[in-house]
Symmetry: C2
Subunit: 244 residues, 2 copies
């Protein structure tokens, strides 16, 4: 199945390596039940105007504690993959903030930062997307579903990887007909103002730091301690974020 | 009213400056309707064993992109106040990650980072507290209510300040009898696994970076653009996070 997806993406003009990154992401999202970020996105890519399969992201600021990346027309998936690869190869001594401008679409954020946790780094990633969430009191959409993902390594090899969208359903669910666009509201029911506040807070934070358009914000840092195994023991077999 | 609160805190042994920081926080929380972080906490301080009014936090690592603070027995409120003052006085050229070890209690996080936004800095702050949120499937409490606060400056002087606890009610509400401890669950109803994932994700992230015990994690960075006024215009008078 992976090879068939790689082949379809290759036919869109992507090189072998990029096609494998993209196909791997879509197949992994599908396997984890995040179908909105899964194989439906191959159809979506095939129908997309203005795809630039040869575009490469560029790291325009590279300091110990800060990096800025420009997508330069590359798909957000490939921008995040390149950023993560770069952090694993050249991790910060302590911590680093990374912003990416015009980084869209970004898919299932937890899948991108899992390799950072597997490399022993803590990571915190958010990314913005088209405005689909309205204020709980009504009006036009003001914020994307803006997921927040957090990955923390574990000495037992089972990192914690939380990945939470602020929407009650995903846009992929709407695209796939599993939900209506009326259901795409901040999650929380009577407490939806909480998820709305997180969505607009993350939206403004990313835009303020990365610049206009959709963007991504990553914080990567070395852990001092190893708290996940004790949490897992206390959870006594209950599923923790990121577990299959 | 403020002066009376200052006087009560002074009687606990705190110096004038610390007493004003604490009283200002409690009164501001009360005024903003966050009573769980408000004046009830003065009673709570008066009943606390082992208060060390003379303790001072110490910045034990101070780099351009990273700082580590030790509370050294100081109240978390005063640790955060000192960290914020330090960031305003010596902001990073681009971005900085700040961790605080044994930083508790921390109160209403949005109130601490608002001055950073007023000083033109973006800020993102989380802090952990005693485990009160259980897994949605049951079992013992595994995470604190672990709020996430985000502040983004605005050229019109009206920053966005989101401050969201992962609990459906606050522990302060339980203390004050306005809610039962059974109601202190991750918010979201049928989607409570989302708020639970954020709570445990933030819990593990802070403990991994700051070390055992309760801690805080702050990211502070210079904005490149000024997106809040346009959001405010699009919101057309609807209340945005942090507005009175």
């Amino acid at each position: 199945m992976l090879e068939k997806v790689v082949e379809r993406i290759r036919r869109l003009g992507f090189g072998e390596e990029d096609a494998r990154v993209l196909a791997g992401h879509f197949v992994a999202a599908e396997e984890r039940g995040q179908a909105g970020h899964g194989l439906a996105r191959v159809d979506w890519l095939e129908g997309l105007d203005g795809l630039q399969p040869g575009a490469r992201p560029e790291r325009v600021v590279a300091e110990e504690g800060f990096e800025r990346w420009e997508a330069r027309g590359a798909l957000g998936y490939l921008v995040l993959a390149e950023i993560v690869r770069t952090q694993v190869e050249s991790p910060p001594a302590r911590a680093r903030v990374v912003v990416a401008h015009e980084c869209f679409p970004t898919g299932a954020l937890g899948l991108w930062i899992r390799p950072l946790a597997e490399a022993g780094l803590c990571a915190w990633l958010t990314a913005t997307s088209p405005a689909r969430l309205a204020h709980p009191d009504g009006g036009p959409p003001l914020a994307g579903t803006n997921p927040l993902a957090i990955a923390v390594p574990a000495s037992d090899g089972r990192p914690l990887v939380a990945d939470v969208s602020m929407g009650a359903v995903t846009y992929g669910d709407v695209l796939a007909g599993r939900a209506t666009s009326e259901e795409l509201v901040p999650f929380g029911g009577p407490l939806a103002h909480k998820a709305f506040a997180l969505a607009v807070g993350l939206e403004m934070l990313v835009e303020a730091l990365a610049g206009p358009g959709h963007g991504a914000l990553l914080v990567v840092a070395h852990p001092k301690t190893d708290p996940v195994p004790a949490l897992r023991a206390a959870a006594a077999g209950r599923r923790l974020p990121g577990d299959r």
